[in-house]
Amino acid sequence: MNREMFHLTARPQVERPSLILGWTKDIGAVSRGVVDFLAEAPGSRSFGHIVPVHFFPVGGVTVRADVARFPQSRLFCNERNNTVILRSDEPQSHKYEFLNRVLDLAEHYNGAEALYTIDGIASMIPHTATRRVFLVSNDPLLQRELRRFVPAGLAWQGPPHTSTYLLWLAKIRRLPGVSLWVEVPFYLADSEDAQAIKTGVSLLNRIFGWDYDLRDLDQRAAEQDETLAQLREEDPEIDTRIRLLEQGESLEQQERQELLDAVQGALREHSG
């Protein structure tokens, strides 16, 4: 591992860990929500970051709520669970080099056991539906092993997500890996879907046999449901469209856009 590429503040005591990666921006903030939970879970601690030079534009900085936001790729470990967690912005350039850096990290600890990424995927479901999870793997054996937790495999042909590119590069380097894709109602894609985050964490809990307390996530999901129920009461249009989705009907493009705009606007107002 080229140490100039990493800024490490501690040496985690892990051996062939599972590497779990989450991006800071994704559909329904599922990826971020899950890794945030894992990074803050008991036993987790930060141990450094990937040096961001080359991977992110330096043309400016975003300031949100009086806080300057710099690109980051932070590393956490949980020795109790033998996991290394990477919470990162998606690289904006030199993607190949960045992803290989992640894989260098995986190889550093005597070769990681496996690589896991978790992301949201927008779907035409109502928020009252159970979130399904789809699996994409680079290794048939790992896929078979995980089938009891995630029976649904994704089928897709089109532009690849960065997580998929990472899995492909991991395959070249003989590291088995999976991407877990949690369904997010399309009208929550631009905000946080607490139900999907809970589904993601709960799935990892089962796969790894962890016993994390999910009550906080349960509460956030319940609050989200409550907010959306209130929106339905206040706005009959929103209610009608969500009810159509609940009945398995599809919405026209314009109806979808209107529902999305209405829900996003209402959620902003609610949080503001």
Binding site: V136, W156, Q157, W168
Partner: protein, 229 residues
């Protein structure tokens, strides 16, 4: 990032013709058409990893089956006098450093860095440079020059058909734009001049001018100026 050669063709004083995607894909279409017409055989490629991000993934039943990248492939064609090598690049690296590296890899295949080289630029109307379609007229212009220089008869009927379709498309777009209500006056004037151009007769190219131009390029392709490619 490396070159993968499936075989090493034995070539005689080859001329290398490179076409990459770019403005209206003029070079790519020209070199690729010539490669196809001459039935050149593929003999290698530049590994795309590191140069390009993937453009497509195929996932079936939860397994990644394939990840596709823009290709940069090498083809060869044997002729009586000088053989030809074609380099067909579906995309150019965005990062200038990587573009430099890729150029180096192409020259590694040429096995020579002290080369005489020429770049043929097919003219594209400025207002079409960002259009989402190719501009076969310019590719035809390039191929007419190449065919003449290399003394290769090229059947460009396919490109002529494409050019006619593209022209019809352009006319339609210009007509639609001309009919638009809200169009700044300067743009409208420019549109009118495009739709009804005033041709300036520069007169035919004289025989002397033609010979001068062709001889200059011919020297280069025949390897009379300096080193062989």
């Amino acid at each position: 990032m490396s070159v993968k050669l499936y075989r090493e063709p034995e070539l005689k004083r080859p001329i290398m013709l490179c076409g990459w995607s770019g403005i209206a894909n003029v070079g790519l279409a020209a070199v690729n058409t010539m490669r196809r017409l001459m039935r050149a055989e593929e003999f290698g490629q530049i590994e795309p990893l590191g140069y390009f991000d993937p453009t497509q993934v195929v996932i079936a039943n939860g397994l990644i089956e394939d990840l596709r990248f823009p290709t940069t492939r090498f083809f060869s064609h044997r002729r009586q006098d000088r053989d030809l090598v074609f380099v067909i690049g579906e995309q150019q690296p965005e990062d200038p450093e990587k573009a430099y590296e890729m150029a180096g890899e192409v020259l590694d295949v040429a096995q020579n860095r002290d080369l005489e080289a020429v770049c043929l630029l097919g003219e594209v109307p400025y207002y079409l440079q960002g259009a989402p379609w190719p501009y076969p007229k310019a590719s035809i212009a390039v191929l007419e020059v190449l065919g003449s220089l290399l003394r290769v008869p090229l059947d460009l009927s396919g490109l002529h058909d494409s050019a006619a379709r593209v022209e019809a498309n352009i006319d339609q777009v210009l007509e639609t734009l001309a009919g638009a209500e809200e169009l700044p006056e300067r743009v409208r004037e420019e549109m009118d001049s495009l739709r009804h151009p005033h041709h300036v007769d520069l007169g035919p190219i004289t025989e002397a001018e033609k010979h001068e131009m062709l001889d200059h390029l011919d020297e280069l392709f025949r390897g009379e100026v300096g080193n062989e490619s």
